[in-house]
Symmetry: C2
DNA sequence: TTTCGATATGTTTTGTAATGAATAGCGATT
DNA sequence: AATCGCTATTCATTACAAAACATATCGAAA
């Protein structure tokens, strides 16, 4: 009565500021795209989400974090844009590094499982 | 410009059978309660979910796993019930053990993060 | 001072997931 | 063969989240 089917383990992590959810993989990707495109609107379009939703995510992160992750710069011929702050960049870097470590760790441990 | 706010890391894991989600913490708890109460109906009531939903979860797990996690036993004065199989017990044990290990690992790694 | 695209925000619509109610079938025990 | 409550399943309803739409505001650059 031994189950020989391979069990695949998946996981997700989230960063919390106290008890408030700060970000997960989705918001990290959003920040990364804001960083490369220079605007919330373009990042949202790339991810096929509404600007409204993207903006709400950014706003929530900014309010919950001790330092904002994204700041706007309005005006100019291009109409303006948004840039990811140093605090934002550090956070997504820490998130990605931790996630990679955990992925590696889980792969090790999961391979030991015998059902 | 250093963020001294403490970042709290939370996580969840899931077991997959191939690409199909098998179970997460919620279904593990459901299985544990089925195991102690001897019925899906009682387990559902304890968790304040509808019998319908609980049954659907059990059914999905049974179909996706190589071996069913729960088997029914109808009839008797008590009307019948359900029991968790050996395969089910082994799976929830493996899940809980892996989860504990990861929790410990993340605590270690998260404490190193400086933002 | 006009223009531009981006930010910022409210309102409405839609889609889908969760819930609730209702009921048929089961079968060991008595 | 009557009983019990638990499994199994359908259908209607509700609730909530996501999407769609609409629009006001901003301000550097031309």
């Amino acid at each position: 009565m031994t189950n020989n089917k391979i069990i695949n383990v998946k996981f997700r992590i989230w960063f919390f500021a106290g008890e408030e959810k700060l970000l997960g993989i989705g918001r990290v990707e959003l920040l990364e795209r804001i960083n490369t495109t220079g605007s919330i609107a373009k990042a949202a379009k790339e991810m096929k989400m509404s600007y409204r939703q993207a903006w709400q995510m950014v706003n929530e992160m900014n309010q919950r974090s001790a330092f904002p992750f994204v700041v706007k710069h309005l005006g100019g011929k291009s109409g303006g844009g948004a840039i990811v702050t140093e605090a934002g960049l550090k956070t997504i870097k820490a998130f990605n590094e931790l996630q990679e470590k955990i992925e590696f760790y889980i792969k090790q441990e999961a391979s030991k499982i015998k059902l």
